[in-house]
Symmetry: C2
Subunit: 215 residues, 2 copies
């Protein structure tokens, strides 16, 4: 620190003479340089019970163990906070995914690999989230466990309730799930072992140049 400008002086001088204070001085590129990895959005999509949250958290753990900056957005930390004013109507689902896309973009901008784990059943909504960021920043990960497998697991007992009519508009039962047509990654969370799925996602990040191969 050399100069000692006041705020008024800074304004009059402009950024050119005092570049250290320029807003954009700490940007994504600077963070990537410092951290040794790029940021990205890993957008997990699939039916309830397909293993999105389990896989996202396991990938998160694997990346954390490599010392990388990561974060998982899922129902636990979004539905009860940022989106607690939203229900499950079509309009509210759309707004829910819109906000998640915008928050994911903020984490991306902050240099973090952000993993989102939501059913996100509608292709159009996922594509809107994709459109918020540059090509290559959005990696759609289709958790492909099919309805039979998910309903048999019924981890949270939701399918039973949906079949009994206790939950309306339940994805896969009474509301459609639109599978991705060309996701960056399709992971067989119906049959493959969890650690194999984690490895598949981590390898995809290495191949795409988001993270370095482990030394």
């Amino acid at each position: 620190m050399t100069a000692s400008p006041t705020y008024g002086q800074l304004t009059n001088q402009g950024a050119s003479t005092n570049i250290a204070w320029h807003h954009a001085s700490v940007d994504r590129a600077a963070r990537a340089d410092q951290r040794g990895h790029r940021s990205a959005i890993l957008w997990f999509t699939g039916l309830s019970g397909a293993g999105k949250s389990t896989l996202a958290n396991a990938v998160n753990q694997a990346l954390f163990e490599r010392g990388l900056a990561t974060y998982v957005l899922d129902g636990d930390n979004v539905r009860h906070g940022l989106c607690k004013d939203l229900g499950f109507s079509d309009a509210d689902r759309e707004e829910n995914i819109r906000r998640i896309g915008e928050v994911a973009k903020l984490f991306l901008d902050s240099g973090v690999i952000v993993l989102t784990a939501f059913v996100s059943p509608f292709r159009a909504d996922r594509d809107k989230a994709r459109a918020l960021v540059d090509d290559g920043d959005f990696i759609e990960v289709f958790c492909s466990a099919d309805l039979g497998v998910c309903e048999e697991r019924d981890t949270k007992g939701l399918y039973a309730k949906a079949r009994a009519g206790e939950i309306k508009e339940f994805t896969g039962i009474s509301s459609p799930y639109e599978a991705p047509e060309s996701p960056e990654l399709s992971v067989d969370t119906g049959a493959a072992a969890l650690d194999a799925c984690v490895e598949q996602v981590v390898n995809a990040l290495i191949e795409r140049g988001v993270i370095p191969a482990q030394s």
Copy 2:
């Protein structure tokens, strides 16, 4: 990685036999251990032109140079994205600050020191953001430049427009600003030099045990 559980097996086993996959395994404490600093919300508040964004970005830069994980939320990245559906009515201002508080909480949870730079004129709204997190996680930074100074600077020409009636409900002119009664930090952005203000904020983070003293 030892076991090779499928998702179904994992569900039946529970986390106890396969703790590596437990959701909470990468939490704030783990991030703080790895990064060598705690996370916190630095909530800058003050009149338009008081220097909130300038100070927040300068602090961000100083923390980045120390290798810390930080991020600035301000009008540039929030009003055009997450909150682009909101205007400037009282209800919309309240919802704007609510969402910013929730997003700040997510960054806090991710282990990042997040700096928010918004007028946030109403005490009740700031206190709601404070109430979302634990004691000590919310550090209110009052940028105390007074109306005379801010209007004289008029960095964005907004005061002139507000005086001319071209902007309705402009904080300080036609809408109240409720100064914090007991902010964690009050910074004299009206008269003090920018680098002195940065030092004051950084020192407060050291004193509060959020970041280590520079070695």
